[in-house]
């Protein structure tokens, strides 16, 4: 049975498709190997000196495969934005303001409480006033609250959709702020991306000063101004804190702001502190010998919720001043109009003769930075924060500069916490990339040799397809701006080994067809035809898993799923389509004796 199949015209179309894919692959892979454009030598016009770099800049796409930090060394910080707390604070602020406005309308309201699930309860004098209070609260907040009256208590529940929107907005704001702050580092190619609902990952290649990075990005986050209170005398505060520590079984090592808040909450619950007050510590740093270490803390009793926050600051500058002829550093602030108004109100309250401490606490990240006496209201919208006087001068200068930088770059809308920090030395990165490249090459050679030994000519075609596959995967990674990490290299090596599977299936099939009596050409076409279904089924089942993972998985799993799906498409294309076209040419136009 001689069944002559002429070279079908579709062969040319297929060849062109493959050629296009090849060009795409090469174009998008090349920039990765050209190095960092910012490191190229350029002449006075900014044109690169070397011809291939000139060409690269004009022709090649700019997207490249980024090397992960484990390959080039550097610093990676994961910051968690405490969104929930910020939403809660916003509700508290709204209710406080609403209470003040209804108080002006002669409606009395009692204590209020905001729970962890963002519901709130407010006591009112008569149920009939609930409507007005509800209206005022809705006026004051973006988070619409749904109310329900039971007796004299008003129950609120925040609107879920609004909270979700608000959280997204907070995250966006936090991302922008962090981006601004990173710009101040002058790091080449930093990357900032959101991971999960509330986390931001910051990668700083080549950066090694982890402490400074953490201070600028994570720690110095929230500035607020609060009125100092006098309902409990200052001398009693330490003993009250000790009592709470004992009751809650917390050791004395509690410089953390959250721990103090926890203690204050306990004291409030036991009615030892008024409901509207909280304790915040001021840290006193040691002298030169133990610079940077906290030697003692002074508790301050302040309002529980801030009226004025750092986002209302227009500008901040570090200044050297002298107090009593002792040189000192401070940060001078200029408020935005709204901030200036609030600051005016705050200082008017502080300077009020009925409020004896006359202090305004300037709180940075839950720690009192300073608490200056206010003798008269400050209305101009300018203020200054003095650095701790006990620090040595260079330390003060650094702190003042960092603080002014952070305030200028924009305060974070919610406090952020460093939840993960990774630091990889540059030599370790070089070692990793070396090991990665060597193992890739060795594995590739092994696979190539095995395929050549077993399948000869068709093994050779399969090897070409495998290398083409790696090229395409790298090109897609560059297109999506993906990051290549050490495990990523391992994934590519494994893909190389498994990508030949498709060709093994096809070649085995061709051999079977030859054995059952077909000639080479017929067997070739039949082999490709029948194994197509096998390959499609095998790849689609993997793809089903990939698609589900992409929809439901966490960020890390999602990234994996995208790579998997990309790999499946590339593998199908190269191991079936490309080898078929090359094989067809070999079978039809050359005198090859055996294919498969």
């Amino acid at each position: 049975m001689q069944n002559k199949i002429p070279m079908p015209p579709i062969w040319w179309i297929k060849s062109i498709v493959i050629l296009c894919a090849l060009i795409f692959g090469v174009l998008y892979t090349l920039p990765t190997f050209f190095g960092n454009p910012s490191e190229w030598q350029r002449d006075s016009n900014g044109v690169p000196l070397k011809w291939h770099e000139r060409m690269a800049e004009n022709i090649l796409p700019s997207s490249r495969v980024n090397l992960g930090l484990d390959l080039k060394g550097g610093l990676s910080l994961t910051l968690n934005v405490e969104v929930e707390k910020a939403v809660q604070d916003s509700i508290i602020r709204a209710i406080t303001r609403a209470k003040e406005t209804v108080a002006a309308e002669n409606i009395k309201t009692g204590a209020f409480k905001v729970n962890d699930d963002l519901s709130a309860t407010i006591e009112i004098d008569t149920p009939s006033h609930a409507q007005i209070l509800q209206k005022r609260i809705n006026e004051q907040t973006l988070l619409l609250l749904y109310e329900k009256v039971i007796g004299n208590t008003l129950y609120f529940k925040a609107n879920r959709n609004y909270i979700v929107d608000f959280e997204k907005q907070l995250m966006q704001q936090a991302m922008n702020t962090i981006r601004n702050r990173i710009d101040q580092f002058g790091v080449a190619e930093p990357s900032i991306f959101q991971s999960g609902d509330t986390r931001i990952v910051v990668e700083l290649p080549g950066m090694s000063d982890i402490q400074r990075a953490k201070q600028l990005l994570g720690n110095t986050a929230q500035l607020d101004f609060r009125l100092a209170l006098n309902s409990v005398s200052k001398d009693q505060l330490p003993s009250l804190l000790d009592e709470a520590r004992k009751a809650l079984n917390i050791s004395h090592d509690d410089t953390q702001a959250s721990t103090i808040e926890h203690l204050s909450q306990w004291l409030r619950d036991k009615n030892k502190l008024p409901m509207n007050a909280t304790i915040i510590l001021q840290r006193i740093y040691g002298q030169e010998s133990s610079a940077g270490k906290v030697v003692s803390t002074i508790p301050h009793l302040v309002e529980a919720h801030a009226k004025l926050t750092g986002d209302l600051i227009e500008d901040a500058q570090a200044l050297q001043t002298a107090e009593n002829y002792i040189p000192q550093y401070s940060v001078s602030l200029k408020f935005k109009p709204q901030g200036a108004k609030l600051f005016g109100e705050l200082t008017t309250l502080a300077a009020d003769s009925k409020n004896p401490p006359h202090e305004v606490a300037i709180i940075l990240d839950g720690n009192v930075q300073s608490s200056p006496y206010v003798k008269a209201p400050i209305i101009g919208g300018n203020a200054s924060i003095t650095m701790g006087s006990s620090l040595n001068l260079p330390e003060q200068m650094k702190q003042a500069q960092d603080l002014s930088l952070v305030l200028r770059a924009g305060a974070l809308p919610a406090s952020v916490k460093v939840v993960e920090e990774r630091q990889i030395g540059p030599s370790e990165g070089a070692q990793n990339i070396h090991a990665g490249i060597i193992s890739t090459i060795v594995a590739a050679i092994l696979v190539v040799v095995v395929m050549l030994l077993i399948y000869g000519a068709s093994g050779f075609v399969a090897n070409i397809a495998m290398l083409f596959n790696v090229l395409l995967i790298l090109a897609f990674m560059a297109l999506f701006g993906a990051t290549l990490t050490l495990p990523g290299i391992a994934g590519i090596v494994l893909t190389m080994a498994i990508a030949v599977d498709g060709n093994v299936v096809i070649n085995e099939r061709i051999r079977e067809e030859i054995r059952s009596g077909f000639n080479q050409k017929q067997a070739f076409y039949k082999g490709y035809h029948t194994s197509f279904r096998t390959l499609i089924d095998a790849h689609i089942t993997s793809a089903v898993a990939g698609i589900v993972l992409m929809i439901y998985g966490n960020p890390a799993v999602k990234g994996f799923a995208v790579t998997l799906l990309c790999g499946i498409v590339c593998t199908l294309f190269t191991s079936y389509y490309v080898t078929e076209v090359i094989g067809q040419w070999l079978v039809e136009r050359t005198k090859i004796k055996r294919f498969g």
């Binding site: 090991a435 060795v442 498994i498 093994v504 089903v544 898993a545 589900v548």
Partner: protein, 351 residues
């Protein structure tokens, strides 16, 4: 048979091997292995890395072997860490600069503030530097993680895994036959559990990279299983009268060449990775190695016997296999050649 280079047949093409003869034994072995793995995981519990538990990890490179592991251990102990371990890292192949790598893992103490662990780790790093000096050790990397980070995503990951199993189940039931689907999914579960057990047994840390490795195992084993299934489906269509056991045996025999080759290339590549890749790659490669070996075994000895079992069950229930004659005729191309003669080796061939 000609064993010429470029035309090597790994498994004789016309050899009929009665794979299913051993199915009761192998299913038994698999059940025992799965139970054993579950027991190991249950007793030892997964060796969660600091990715999940929170804590610090410091990689220290010792230059020219001037500091031993014991010395490092002592230095760490002196700092008063009770949950710290010092392990060698990626030590199969000598590093370029003739250094030796150690990893100090510090788990957060229960109830301890995460920031406290991080600052204590910082103190440790400084002390190590001053104690041994820069000419002896180099701090290569340090990681601090608060435990919250992984926990949050864990449940979501499990959900995704479960849902993808269901997705695969549905796809196979539609595309193949209902009697194929449970085998494929149980095969997946079997592979993942055994790989988990192995990892726990070897005290390999369970990191975020391990999750990627497990997902790759899922992808690999489903691929492997489907290719065997595809051949069973085809043989069943072409030989409707053949008993199911024989169909399965023949199909596995026919795909044996492919199975051997693919797993060989896979295992070779993974061996290279685990020997030369070092560090983070080593974890990935060793987990995958177990996955590929178990996956290859299970596509033959777990998926196929389960399909047989399901087939027997379906037949008992009266769900007869549809008469495939008509469909087979449609499927068969006009120039259909009869399937290769199935026979045992003749004495002449054995020579």
């Amino acid at each position: 048979m000609a064993f010429k280079i470029g035309n090597i047949q790994v498994f004789p093409h016309n050899y009929y091997f009665d794979f299913m003869k051993w199915r009761k034994v192998t299913v038994g072995i698999s059940v025992v292995l799965v139970l054993l793995s579950l027991l190991i995981v249950g007793i030892k519990s997964l060796n969660y890395s600091i990715d999940f538990l929170g804590g610090a990890e410091i990689q220290v490179n010792v230059l020219n072997k001037s500091v031993t592991r014991e010395q490092l251990q002592e230095a760490v102990k002196k700092e008063g860490f009770s949950h710290a371990e010092v392990t060698t890292y990626g030590n199969f192949v000598a590093r370029k600069d003739n250094s030796e790598a150690f990893v100090i893992r510090i788990q957060s103490e229960k109830g301890e503030d995460k920031n406290a662990t991080s600052s204590r780790a910082g103190v440790l790093v400084n002390n190590l530097k001053t104690q041994f000096g820069a000419d002896k050790i180099r701090i290569e990397s340090s990681t601090n993680i608060s435990g919250k980070i992984g926990r949050e995503d864990e449940l979501k990951g499990y959900m995704a895994l479960l849902l993808s199993c269901i997705g695969i189940l549905i796809y196979i039931a539609f595309r193949f036959d209902a009697r194929f689907a449970p085998g494929a999914v149980l095969c997946l579960v079997h592979n993942v559990i055994i790989a988990l057990g192995f990892m726990t047994l070897l005290d390999r840390p369970f990191t975020t990279t391990s999750i990627a490795a497990f997902l790759t195992i899922v992808g690999y084993s489903i691929n492997d299983t489907v290719i065997v299934y595809d051949r069973i489906r085809e043989t069943r269509l072409l030989q409707p009268k053949m008993p199911m056991v024989e169909v399965v045996n023949r199909s596995i025999s026919q795909t044996m060449n492919r199975t051997i080759l693919t797993s060989t290339t896979g295992i070779l590549a993974l061996l290279v990775l685990s020997i030369m890749g070092g560090g983070a790659i080593e974890d990935f490669a060793i987990t995958m190695l177990v996955g590929v070996i178990v996956g290859t075994y299970s596509s033959i000895y777990v998926a196929a016997p389960l399909t047989l079992m399901m087939d027997g069950y379906f037949t008992k229930m009266g769900w007869k296999q549809k008469d495939n004659k008509e469909k087979a005729k449609l499927e068969r191309p006009k120039d259909y050649a009869p399937p290769i003669n199935v026979r045992k080796k003749t004495p002449q061939e054995k020579r």
